[in-house]
């Protein structure tokens, strides 16, 4: 339902009312901003010198290094989590009961534990010796691997049954059916969801801050705390700069997801994401969301069709 269905086309009175509401609302907002501005000004946060720190080559190199280490962790965790997800998904759909059972328990467990606790537990050395970077990478891989495995499973369940049946009828083995029939179609229909989850992975790299891995947020804290200008710490400025970097990165990935979705919609080949798959996408878009509730419901829908 598009928004315009919800209300009548505004007539003269509604237009006047909307105008008044808009002006009042905008004024209230400006007032709020003005007040925040005054408070910030009182604390000397508006001094132009505070922005000068971003002109220093050293600070810029710091930011660049931090950005690179964030991207490095994101790249490793992204690739590893997808590999791990494929393994978990195959195990989850296995014909052997014990393997299926182990995979299910593993996925359910690690999806329910806060990611911060997984990373922290790895870092303090419960199961071995991890450097901050590897604690972060392994933690992200395990958590996101579990989520992506459920996404893939939903994708595979959304592939029409006839596809696998036809492949078996042609004499393909289980591995061949999975690798050449089911997974390509599942990945294709789930690509937007997979990328949304990658956005979550990217955002979660900021947890490296807690285990003292020098990524973007950590260096933001370092810059804000160590470069006072005339007795004022440039916290607001650093938050604005680093927030902008994060938002730009995430929006770029989200844009990619949108683009792929639209491209997929145009080409008629392949399967379209089923109802359950669509629901899953909403959920995966919901940050570090848990798919526990949505996945069974979605797959049930598909079976009904």
């Amino acid at each position: 339902m598009s928004a315009s269905v919800l209300f009548d086309a505004p007539g003269p009175r509604a237009r006047a009312r909307n105008l008044i509401l808009s002006v009042v609302g905008t004024l209230a907002f400006l007032g709020l901003f003005f007040w925040i501005g005054i408070r910030l000004n009182d604390k000397g946060q508006f001094a132009g010198e505070l922005w000068d720190i971003f002109n220093y080559a050293g600070i810029r190199e710091n930011i660049l290094d931090a950005l690179l280490s964030t991207l490095k962790v994101f790249a490793m965790a992204g690739v590893l989590s997808l590999v791990f997800a494929v393994i978990l998904c195959v195990a989850r759909l296995s014909d052997h009961k014990p393997i299926r059972w182990v995979a299910t328990v593993f996925i359910d467990l690690f999806r329910s534990i806060p990611l911060l606790i997984t990373i922290y537990a790895l870092w303090v050395g419960i199961v071995g010796d991890f450097t901050p970077m590897w604690a972060l990478v392994v933690g992200l891989t395990v958590y996101n691997g579990c989520v992506q495995a459920e996404v893939l499973r939903a994708g595979i369940n959304a592939v029409p049954k006839g596809q696998a049946e036809a492949a078996y009828a042609l004499g393909l083995r289980k591995t061949q059916v999975n690798a050449s029939i089911l997974f390509p179609q599942a990945v294709r229909s789930m690509l937007p969801t997979i990328i949304s989850q990658l956005v979550v992975t990217l955002k979660d790299t900021s947890l490296g801050f807690m285990v003292l891995y020098p990524e973007l947020l950590y260096s933001a804290r370092l810059i804000a705390n160590n470069t006072p200008v005339g007795g004022v710490y440039p916290i607001v400025q650093t938050v604005i700069v680093f927030g902008a970097i994060y938002i730009a990165l995430c929006l770029a990935l989200a844009w990619l997801a949108n683009w792929i979705e639209q491209r997929g919609r145009k080409s008629k080949a392949g399967i379209t994401p089923a109802a359950g798959a669509k629901e899953l996408k909403e959920v995966a878009a919901a940050g570090t969301a848990d798919l526990a509730a949505a996945a069974p419901a979605g797959t049930a829908d598909i079976r009904k069709e």
Binding site: F29, L116, I126, M210, D290, A293
Partner: protein, 215 residues
Amino acid sequence: MNVLLDNLALFREGFLGTLYLTAVSAVLALVLGVVIAGFRVSPVPPLRIFGTLWVTLLRNTPLTLLFLVAFFVVPKVLFPGVNSFLLAVCACGFYTSAFVAEAVRSGINTVPMGQAEAARAIGMTFTQTMRIVVLPQATRTVVPPLSSIFIALTKNTAIAGAFDNVDLFNVQKTLSNDGYEIAWIFLWITIGYLVITYAINGLFRLLENRLEVAR
């Protein structure tokens, strides 16, 4: 086992802290989320713009960055001396409200167009259409994603613990400093989180079933 029995009071405090933080931020997120979703489909353009901005900004910012703002910018610059619980509630609640808003908006989109058209035809205003006709019907589709969002919220509150707010994660820090066996501490804390997340899951299953009957 000893860790739990020796520090039962501390664990209880942490567990209740997490529960309390989750509950209060969930309520804040729910209220804000529904309002923002309403903004996004409202007839007043500035409200639509505000809603879109809110969702885009909060959904694409890491929660840790929000916590950094809440705990280091807000008390230092805007409101000195706000207690840490309120700050944590704001950070978690605002962040989650963006996801709630998206869930509610997609729920609104699933309500058949004829419903809103009929409501308009009998002369309802936008607020009436939303309150009486559209939102109650949207509830059914919004419940499953909401359950995942609140489970995610529970897990995200752990970050508040890292910022010196009393909760389960914070208990772990205190106890590791006291020199207890780390593995046991983590085991009990994990169980604490599992209890809460599974309780939310069960609660929403129940809700879903009841709504299913109501159809």
